[in-house]
């Protein structure tokens, strides 16, 4: 018989009351009720408008949660393309507020990793220049850290990685799509098992030891790809229903969300991943690619992007709590 901690890498928590904001699929024991409880989807999810970003921008990075997100950099179309941005902004669930700038202005992140108070910006580019720069945000300002081993933009980054355990895979260096995997241990980057394909403009979710990467370019080869990383090696998984590049990602390796992207035009598709397959979800109102994603499968955020806009959208999947009973 399978055991919960083997399947999920976690033990069932023993709690006196239901937790306030459980994730979809989270299981715990409620000692007051004397029951094993589970959080599960209850009703239809949908995208709603959120607070507008301070300016129209594409190619910005994003991380954090739906109510505490961070976005940085990008390429504001209102300026010449060479005018990449160093602007950083924090989202509180209602509005964006600019804060201290990145040390190095750059664009083409696809996504980021970490939280609003412990974020990371790795790689990126400006016209003619590709960066290995790695900066960390402490909730107030950015500080320069050890560079990636190679310069690249549009890498997949495990969105739930931390400032002491992150992973970056693939990307583009100006002449080639890459298959590198780089792990961050809090002080330096080291190359680990190569991705089985060369890919860029793809999204990511999960952690350093349970990462997910999906979508990418060229569309015909990589647009629908999904790969899982266990900290040691990559394995393939179920394909996206809608192949896309410049797609946004959020969530974990077993509960991820893919939204937006580009394939013969900007896309509004949203798909949910359950650890093996993708299923279609309600669409974004504003089709877009190369935007700042954040959040989880049940509470995600999509900010700005191409076509140029300031639009933010919030995806919310209502969750309920039920007891598990034996049949």
């Amino acid at each position: 018989m399978s055991e919960y901690n083997v399947l999920n890498g976690l033990k069932v928590k023993y709690l006196s009351a239901d937790p306030p904001n459980p994730e979809d699929g989270q299981v715990w024991y409620n000692s007051s009720l004397g029951k094993v409880r589970v959080s599960e989807v209850a009703g239809s999810g949908a995208w709603a408008s959120g607070g507008s970003y301070p300016f129209a921008v594409a190619g910005l990075g994003g991380c954090g949660t739906q109510t505490a997100a961070l976005a940085y950099g990008g390429n504001p179309p209102s300026t010449p393309p060479s005018g990449v941005s160093s602007t950083t902004a924090e989202y509180d669930g209602g509005s964006w507020t600019t804060t201290n700038n990145l040390g190095t202005a750059r664009s083409s992140f696809i996504n980021g990793h970490g939280t609003q108070t412990a974020g990371m910006a790795t790689g990126g580019s400006k016209p003619g220049t590709y960066y290995a720069n790695h900066e960390q945000y402490d909730g107030s300002s950015w500080s320069e850290q050890s560079d990636l081993n190679s310069s690249k933009n549009q890498s997949s980054q495990a969105a739930q990685g931390t400032q002491t355990a992150a992973v970056v895979s693939g990307g583009y260096n100006g002449s080639s799509r890459l298959n590198d995997t780089e792990e961050w241990n809090g002080s330096s980057w080291s190359e680990t098992a190569d991705v089985p394909i060369n890919n860029s403009a793809w999204a990511g979710g999960g952690t350093q030891t349970a990462a997910l990467a999906f979508g990418g370019t060229p569309l015909t080869d990589n647009g629908a790809v999904t790969l899982e990383y266990n900290g040691t090696s990559w394995t393939s998984s179920g394909s996206l229903n809608q192949p896309r590049q410049g797609v946004g990602g959020a969530g974990s390796q077993t509960a991820a969300l893919a939204f937006g992207g580009e394939n013969a035009g900007y896309r509004n598709n949203t798909e949910a991943y359950n650890g093996s397959t993708w299923s279609n979800q309600p669409t974004l109102a504003n089709s877009r690619q190369n935007f700042a994603p954040a959040g989880t499968q049940t509470a995600a955020l999509a900010t700005a992007g191409e076509p140029a806009s300031t639009n933010t959208e919030e995806f919310t999947q209502p969750l309920g709590t039920g007891s598990i009973v034996s049949s």
């Binding site: 035009g265 089709s287 190369n290 191409e306």
Partner: protein
């Protein structure tokens, strides 16, 4: 009867459209503050409540085309290295 209502309205951010709105009627946003709304009572009420100005499909498409053309011309005028940073803006056909 047309399936959609077309109009322009400025996205004011949080609350401009809600989860319930998305469940009540079709809604798509496009460049130029163009919105395509399901042609039902709730959709029409939403557009009116946002100070929306209704357009014909042709008028709405022309607004989107003008926005896309301007961004394509800016992209075409950029250098090759600049073009590598962003893809050429795509044409958008309203439903």
């Amino acid at each position: 009867m047309s399936l959609f209502i077309y109009g322009t309205a400025t996205n004011t951010g949080k609350g401009f459209f809600t989860h319930q709105d998305r469940l009540n009627f079709f809604l798509e946003g496009h460049p130029g503050n163009v919105w395509v709304v399901g042609n039902n009572e709730k959709g029409a009420v939403w557009l009116a409540s946002k100070g929306g100005v209704t357009k014909t499909k042709e008028e709405a498409q022309a607004i989107v085309d003008a926005e896309v053309t301007a961004s394509q011309e800016a992209w075409d005028a950029s250098t090759d290295s600049e073009k590598a940073t962003l893809s050429r803006p795509s044409n958008i056909i309203l439903p």
